[in-house]
């Protein structure tokens, strides 16, 4: 780690196929994003037209946790019609390419009565893809 006043060392730049990798994101708690942005987003570098996403721990039946394509960290960028409501532990395919650079997981709506229905704990999000670089950018829910 660089000390104060020293420039941070440059990150290695890796190009070319690096093989399939899996990003595991654990212990997330989502809050209903109908009134504020509480989504998880990840942007990755990959040549393939879709990424494989598996979310473990969503409610059954799942009506509120959406998996969507996304092209920036700061805000939602896909229409609702591009999103899916995944079943727990079942892999879904998310479009990737020039239009979409990554994955968004977001809660939209409430899953039950009372304050508890406004949030959902997710055990794990797994994103698998063939990587062309090992740089990943995340936006985490508060």
């Amino acid at each position: 780690m660089s000390g104060a006043g020293s420039p941070a060392p440059a990150a290695p730049t890796t190009t070319g196929a690096l093989g399939d990798v899996t990003l595991l994101i654990t212990d997330l708690r989502f809050v209903n994003s109908e009134e504020s942005d509480n989504a998880f987003r990840a942007l990755v570098d990959s040549p393939v037209p879709d990424l494989t996403v598996k979310v473990t721990g969503v409610p059954t039946p799942n009506r509120v946790i959406l998996v969507c394509p996304v092209n920036e960290l700061a805000q939602r960028s896909a229409p609702a019609s591009a999103c899916v409501t995944p079943e727990s532990g079942v892999a879904t395919r998310v479009p990737h390419g020039p239009l979409y650079k990554g994955v968004e997981v977001v809660q939209v709506g409430v899953s039950g009565a009372g304050p508890g229905g406004n949030s959902t704990a997710i055990g794990e999000i797994a994103i698998t893809y063939p990587a062309t670089s090992r740089n990943v950018q995340f936006r985490l829910p508060p």
Binding site: M1, A11, P12, T22, L24, L73, N135, Q137, P142
Partner: protein, 78 residues
């Protein structure tokens, strides 16, 4: 990320405080073969080297007293 290779990693976290008071977070590298590397502060950043563990990851924890918003994490895995 799994698998990770040999080489250098970098991670930087950024965020805003929901209250305007300074926020603070703890960013930790966790791997199966390297000792932990931890940074704390209003914009924690880590770098170092990993030697081919089976799995490597970063943990981000709000270590301050205010709610953090717009939490971004930029990671370069080896």
């Amino acid at each position: 990320m799994t698998p990770v290779g040999n080489g250098m990693y970098q991670a930087t976290a950024s965020f805003r405080s929901a209250t305007g008071a300074p926020g603070e977070a703890e960013l930790t590298l966790v791997s199966t073969t390297s000792s932990q590397n931890v940074a704390r502060g209003p914009g924690p950043a880590l770098s170092g080297n990993l030697s081919r563990p089976a799995e490597g990851g970063f943990r981000l924890r709000n270590s301050g007293s205010t709610t953090l918003t717009a939490v971004n994490l930029d990671v370069q895995f080896p």
